[in-house]
């Protein structure tokens, strides 16, 4: 290649508007970059809790955990690929399997799920319907939380597939009930719950 050197007129090759407008353009670009950086820091630091606040959409049910009561549901994880949402565990269906159950994520060693209410409840019993596809028996604990306090363990159980597990507990003035599953040895087995019911007085 033997082209003559082209005169360097970089002041015109900037592709920008006139010089007097360049500081304004640079200021706008700087603001945009800073705004994005602020957002990016928030994004990188995000550690969300899987939480759904259900509106009260039906008459009050004796099953305090039912979604239509207007509960807040939280979980440690769920199977995002197969869309096995935590909400399936409180949808009121105890006989449906397939994909309509809560399944924890494969990398969640200690899955948990809890429901909470705005008004304290008197909780006396829990029922857990374990899906037929759950691969191993998982030990779990039941904990209750009173207003302004931490969770306190009130009972234990074994979640075995295709079983209905009932646990009697005494939790007065409870605003939340949590099931926490113990870790299993590798390979990781997920928790699969068809229904999680909470009964009160």
């Amino acid at each position: 290649m033997d082209e003559p050197r082209v005169a360097d007129s970089s002041s015109v090759t900037s592709g920008y508007p006139s010089r007097s407008r360049i500081p304004v353009v640079r200021l706008v670009v700087l603001i945009v970059i800073v705004a994005w950086l602020v957002g990016e820091i928030r994004f990188v630091q995000a550690e969300p809790t899987l939480e759904t606040l259900f509106p009260a959409t039906g008459p009050a049910s004796s099953n305090l955990a039912l979604f239509s009561n207007g509960v807040r549901l939280r979980a440690s994880s769920y199977n995002m690929f197969d869309q096995r949402y935590p909400a399936y565990a409180i949808d009121g269906n105890t006989h449906l399997g397939g994909t309509m159950q809560w399944e924890s994520a494969t990398d969640d060693a200690t899955p948990w799920i809890d429901v909470s209410w705005t008004r304290p409840q008197q909780v006396r019993q829990l029922t857990l319907v374990v899906d037929s596809a759950q691969q191993s028996t998982r030990l779990f604990s039941v904990a209750c939380q009173a207003t302004g306090s931490d969770f306190v363990v009130k009972g234990h159980g074994e979640a075995t597939r295709s079983k209905i597990v009932t646990i009697d507990v005494t939790c007065d003035s409870t605003t939340a009930v949590r099931l926490s599953f113990d870790p299993t040895p590798m390979p990781m087995k997920t928790v699969r719950i068809t229904e999680f019911q909470v009964w009160g007085t």
Binding site: P4, F43, L50, E51, T52, F67, A87
Partner: protein, 480 residues
């Protein structure tokens, strides 16, 4: 064609900038083609990272995707959510307009590259382009023509508001080519700086979208031909450095250096599984090029080849992408959009230079005007015949999903075609969003359904007591 002052040239460039911006924003309102990958590959991942809820496509299960682009979107998403913007439709518009505005960088780069190329063509034609000559701004007309071509070429407008890696990769590579080209006319530290910037941009474009990686070869080759080995090593070093950065992102997100790169290569090239997503005939890309260029192609090609001695890197880059992607069974038009700015810069800059020094200026200008009109008309015609892939319906599905997500009484949403729904990104809520299956109607959790009027799903939900509460074209939101 006379001389131009710097001031008037700046006015011309400002006009190009404004027209490019307005036309891209205007195109947004025509609701251009919407690919589900825009949601599920690059918007849904940041959504689930921020909220915990979303749908993981298979690419995210197998680790084929890098988090670089989703994390970039995530910064904006986090900022907008902090400002209270949760409506899916508003968020979608933001991201589309964002990329439409960013793509205005293309005509800016086209001017700079086109000016250098045109000046070289002018020099070959015998014009005096040395410093201090009476040709005050050599190549200005070719550069301006290249800028207009890239600003208004309809396929580039059509693909501007895209949330896909094709767009930023294309912009980075075009600017990388521009800086590499300009470095040949600089010396010392100015040349070094231009090459470093070129290397970083080319490398970023290549790593962001691996199928575009071969484009980095031609500026590198030109440096070697010009015996600028040190600068060539700068480019190689930049490629390694940027690659390490991408590798680190994989290490932090997937637990292994270059995990997404290796998984991508394994899936697409070693296992050849890209063919599972559709196989197109060998001349698919030729048909695409002809559709968008038609009768203007011989003219544009003739111009580009006339200046091949100076623009060969641009032409070779464009051709190489088409040739090697033709060997891959799975083809989509968006895979080759980077060829357009490279080809247009090569062609328009030469045309501008030749017209500037034509022996018969009036005839030359008339021919050029005719060529531009044909090219523009062909481009519009080509875009109007782009396969629709039902994209208008996708907007209706995603708008309907966004509307449903804002309902305070929603406890679960069924959507007839989950792939077109826009996912949790559009829903903006943490209630379940699931693709429609009849058995799911047994669960009272799902009190909203987004279905197409008259479809089987529509009939099923109607039988279960759902009634229409809102309509978006042929897509209806039903509630029980």
């Amino acid at each position: 064609m006379g001389h131009v002052t710097r001031k008037s040239l700046r006015w011309h460039l400002s006009l190009v900038f404004v027209v490019a911006l307005v036309s891209r924003i205007a195109f947004f309102f025509f609701e251009p083609w919407l690919h589900p990958d825009e949601f599920f590959q690059y918007l849904e991942p940041p959504q689930w990272h921020l909220t915990g809820f979303g749908w993981k496509a298979w690419e995210w299960r197998d680790g084929i995707r890098s988090w670089v682009m989703p994390a970039y979107h995530g910064g904006w998403l986090a900022l907008l959510r902090a400002l209270g913007v949760r409506d899916g439709r508003t968020l979608l518009a933001f991201f589309q307009l964002h990329w439409a505005v960013v793509s205005v960088l293309l005509p800016c780069g086209a001017f700079r590259a086109g000016r250098v190329l045109a000046a070289r063509v002018e020099a070959m034609e015998g014009a005096d382009v040395s410093a201090g000559s009476s040709s005050e701004i050599p190549g200005w007309f070719g550069g301006l023509l290249a800028a207009w071509a890239v600003a208004l070429f309809p396929p580039l407008l059509y693909f501007a508001p895209r949330m896909l890696t094709e767009v930023p990769s294309m912009i980075a590579i075009v600017w990388g080519y521009t800086f590499a080209l300009e470095s040949h006319d600089k010396a010392g530290k100015h040349a070094n700086k231009a090459i470093v910037v070129a290397g970083l941009l080319l490398s970023f474009g290549a790593w962001l979208r691996l199928p575009n990686a071969p484009l980095i070869a031609f500026p590198l080759l030109e440096l070697l031909i010009r015996k600028r080995v040190r600068h060539a090593l700068f480019i190689v070093g930049s490629f390694v450095l940027v690659g390490l950065a991408f590798g680190m992102v994989d290490l932090l997100t997937w637990g292994r250096m270059f995990h997404s790169v290796l998984a991508f290569i394994n899936y697409n090239f070693i296992q050849g599984r890209a063919a599972e997503h559709g196989v197109e005939p060998p001349f698919f890309y030729a048909e695409v090029i002809l559709r968008h260029s038609g009768w203007a192609l011989p003219f544009a090609l003739a111009m580009a080849l006339r200046g091949i001695k100076v623009n060969w890197t641009f032409l070779a880059g464009a051709l190489s992408i088409v040739l090697y992607l033709t060997t891959q069974p799975h083809k989509e038009e968006r895979f080759i959009i980077a060829i357009w700015p490279l080809f247009l810069i090569a062609s328009a800059s030469t045309a501008g230079a030749l017209v500037f020094h034509a022996r018969h200026p009036l005839r030359a200008r008339a021919l050029l005007t005719l060529g531009c009109v044909i090219a523009l008309g062909q481009g519009i015609f080509g875009v109007s015949r782009l396969p629709r892939y039902g994209h208008a319906e996708r907007y209706r599905y995603s708008f309907a999903t966004a509307w449903t997500g804002q309902r305070p009484d929603a406890t679960g949403v069924l959507v007839e075609d989950h792939y077109q729904s826009g996912g949790h990104f559009c829903l903006g809520s943490t209630v379940p969003l699931v693709g429609f299956r009849g058995e799911l109607l047994l669960s009272r959790l799902f009190n909203y359904a987004v279905v197409r009027k008259g479809s089987t799903a529509y009939e099923q939900v109607e039988q279960r007591g759902f009634r229409s509460v809102s309509e978006f074209g042929a897509v209806v939101v039903m509630k029980r």
